[in-house]
Amino acid sequence: MKFRVERDVLAEAVAWAARSLPARPPVPVLAGLLLAADEGKLSLSGFDYEVSARVETEADVEEPGTVLVSGRLLADISRSLPNRPVEISTDGVRVIVVCGSSRFTLPTLPVDEYPALPQMPTVSGTVPGEAFAAAVAQVATAAGRDDTLPVLTGVRVEIEGDRVTLAATDRYRFAVRDLMWKPEQEGLSAVALVPAKTLLDTAKSLSAGDVVSIALAGSGKGEGLIGFEGAGRRTTTRLLEGEFPKFRALFPTEFNSVATVPTPAFVEAVKRVSLVAERNTPVRLSFEQGVLTLEAGSGDDAQATERVEADLEGDDISIAFNPAYLLDGLAAIDAAVAQLSFTTSTKPALLSGKHAPDAEADEAYKYLIMPVRLSG
């Protein structure tokens, strides 16, 4: 194998592919990056059994070939190289990296021990990279972190024609985001449960691209894999199996009260009152016309009260939430004004965003939050 490539191109590609390498490789070869050079292209691949990453760039290939080298070593070396063209070649069981006056020798790892990389499924459609990353971040915030309930550590991706719905829950809140996308074929319908942390990382790392292609295979048959591709970078992720809670029926459609609060003031007030509350103790919200009163702490504990200007339509209501979950939701709506809709103080409340007090609430993102029952 022998090829030449620009230093920046190499360093960026190696850094990206090396992200997916496991810190504690279950077998040594998984610490390797697979370099394949052929027909003017260089590809670099890494795999940690759950996520595979592959990046392809242009290269001046003199002699095609495939080689496995330590990902960390190659990343360290390519970062430190001077800004000159880099020539990489094999010499027996070694790889030689030459750049300007620098020359490095790397040992190769056994390619035949390297596991087969997952096949990228056929592309199902595309979304703008930045919008996708933002949507995933809005939803992933509600995903569970408890590995004993693997289903809840995932983001459900539902594809129905030109609409993609993302949903996640940890049983205490439920986030759902709709976005439009460009399917490759009409009438496409598919579902997948993607590990939330992986989806978040992947969407972020592909956000620079104009479009991200989403490729979904074998949904529902247990052999599922989801692939993402943008700007020459592609990743595959194994899907989670299991029944995701049916969420559409959980979202109330009729309300007894609807409150509107400027988001920044709301957030500041929740943060301040929850300072006196012990971890995970609730913050109580009382809405009356024109004002929202927030309280935390009870009995002998320190008490805190805050008042925020708020608009209320419908009945006065007093309801309590876990402040962390409320703050997650207020951050996720990413809007100047927060709208909270209630049925009763023991039923979940619906949080959505508005860009102005008199605007319509954003229908694309909904955050359902379970209230905390207060004793007495």
Binding site: P25, A31, S70, T105, P115, A217, E241
Partner: protein, 411 residues
């Protein structure tokens, strides 16, 4: 050279597993037919019933439970083109078989315990990966080599995953006997029982696979009493043979108390030396492989990149734990050798015809047989068993072995 070749004297088990691997192919929508057309009708009828999500492999140590589980895992990942023509799943050559056998296949996870129990935390991690779809679109196989070492809490965590398996996840549990697995787990697994491989079959595989001289192979197979790994080591390693001979001198030395205690010490030492040698052979290679993969600078002791210390430390800890376990296993092997000696003594005392397990030591066996009565021999076998039990309960090795040596002396 198929993946089944390393299973010695387990024809029935192999037959069941091959049938399951074939029906597993049918589940995937691939051809599951066998080359033998006479059987094809019956196989079609059995359909997918031959494949199931949870298996319990049992058998005496050394009979090849883990080997059988790995071979089955490989056969489920086999992608040999011959399969379409009715070939046996588990060709041993294709990428699927190869990476499954060497342990790097993405969808074959093998858990070996070096510690004495498998806890809730590790099991939760396994259950999480079990809830994912396979990376290669076939089956995700999880091999639990010491499922008898699951704590009760861990077994309960595992139970849920086995009760509601992901559609493409297969659990392969191994335990010495059915009784070693918790009843709740046992009842959800299909049971496969491996037998102690016959001496002739073990000798044959040593000749065939490892190129060992027939005479040496016959000796090693007999001495190892069906433990394939042990037989191989005895055949290949003169040091191991010497240490074994040293252990078997104990019955002749117990008459004198000083020699008896010295004998106990040398038995413990021999086991430690055995373990040390096994560890050295594996550890150095393992460490070098990981160092290279993590990007060590060239040359011995070359500098490691930042952030790799954790992985190296983890390997070191694992090697230490493994050394402890190997030492226990070696000591247990030595005690099994010792009890085989007394069983030979008993055979001579009862005038049984035929070959002894320790035929090469017939003179010593006959001497001890002549100097004692069968009742004493039985008590001595009991003493060896009691020592094994004590070691299982974590009694300090030298204490346990000394107590045994004194009991052997009393006769």
């Amino acid at each position: 050279m198929s993946v089944w070749d390393d299973l010695v004297g387990q024809e029935q088990v192999v037959e069941q597993l091959v049938a399951a691997a074939r029906s597993a192919r049918v589940v995937l929508g691939e051809s599951g037919r066998s080359g033998d057309s006479r059987n094809s009708g019956a196989e079609e009828q059995s359909g997918s019933s031959g494949m199931t999500h949870a298996w319990l492999f049992t058998g005496p140590p050394g009979s090849g439970m883990a080997t059988a589980a790995r071979a089955f895992a490989a056969s489920l990942q086999c992608t040999s083109p011959d399969l379409e023509l009715g070939g046996i799943p588990g060709c041993g050559f294709c990428e699927g078989c190869h990476t499954a056998l060497i342990g790097s296949h993405a969808d074959v996870e093998s858990v070996r315990t070096d510690v004495l129990s498998i806890g809730v935390k590790e099991t939760r991690e396994l259950v999480r990966s079990a809830s994912m779809s396979p990376a290669g679109g076939r089956w995700q196989v999880i091999i639990l080599e010491d499922s008898d070492r699951l704590t009760e809490g861990a077994a309960n965590v595992l139970l849920k995953a086995i009760e509601e398996p992901a559609p493409r996840t297969v659990w392969l549990l191994c335990a010495p006997s059915v009784e070693d697995a918790l009843p709740t787990i046992r009842s959800r697994c299909r049971l496969l029982v491996l037998r102690t491989p016959p001496v002739a079959a073990v000798a044959d595989v040593l000749v065939r696979r490892d190129g060992i001289e027939p005479e040496m192979a016959a000796f090693a197979a007999r001495a190892a009493q069906g433990h394939i790994g042990r037989a191989r080591r005895l055949a290949l390693d003169a040091g191991a043979r010497e240490r074994r001979a040293e252990v078997l001198k104990l019955p002749l030395r117990v008459a004198d108390l000083g020699a008896c205690l010295a004998g106990a010490q040398s038995l413990v030492d021999a086991a430690a030396a055995d373990a040390k040698q096994v560890a050295e052979e594996v550890d150095t290679r393992e460490t070098e492989e990981l160092r290279a993969a993590l990007g060590a600078a060239a040359g011995v002791g070359g500098r490691m990149p930042r952030g790799t210390a954790g992985a190296m430390k983890e390997l070191e800890d694992r090697q230490k734990r493994r050394a402890t376990r190997t030492q226990r296993d070696s000591l247990d092997r030595a005690l099994i050798d010792l009890s085989s000696f007394y069983r030979d003594v008993l055979a001579v005392q009862f005038g049984a015809a035929g070959e002894l397990s320790n035929e090469e030591m017939r003179q010593a066996v006959e001497r001890v047989a002549g100097e004692s009565r069968p009742e004493a021999t039985l008590r001595r076998i009991e003493a060896v068993l009691a020592c094994r039990t004590a070691l299982e309960r974590n009694v300090a090795p030298l204490l346990a072995v000394e107590a045994m040596a004194v009991a052997l002396r009393a006769g």
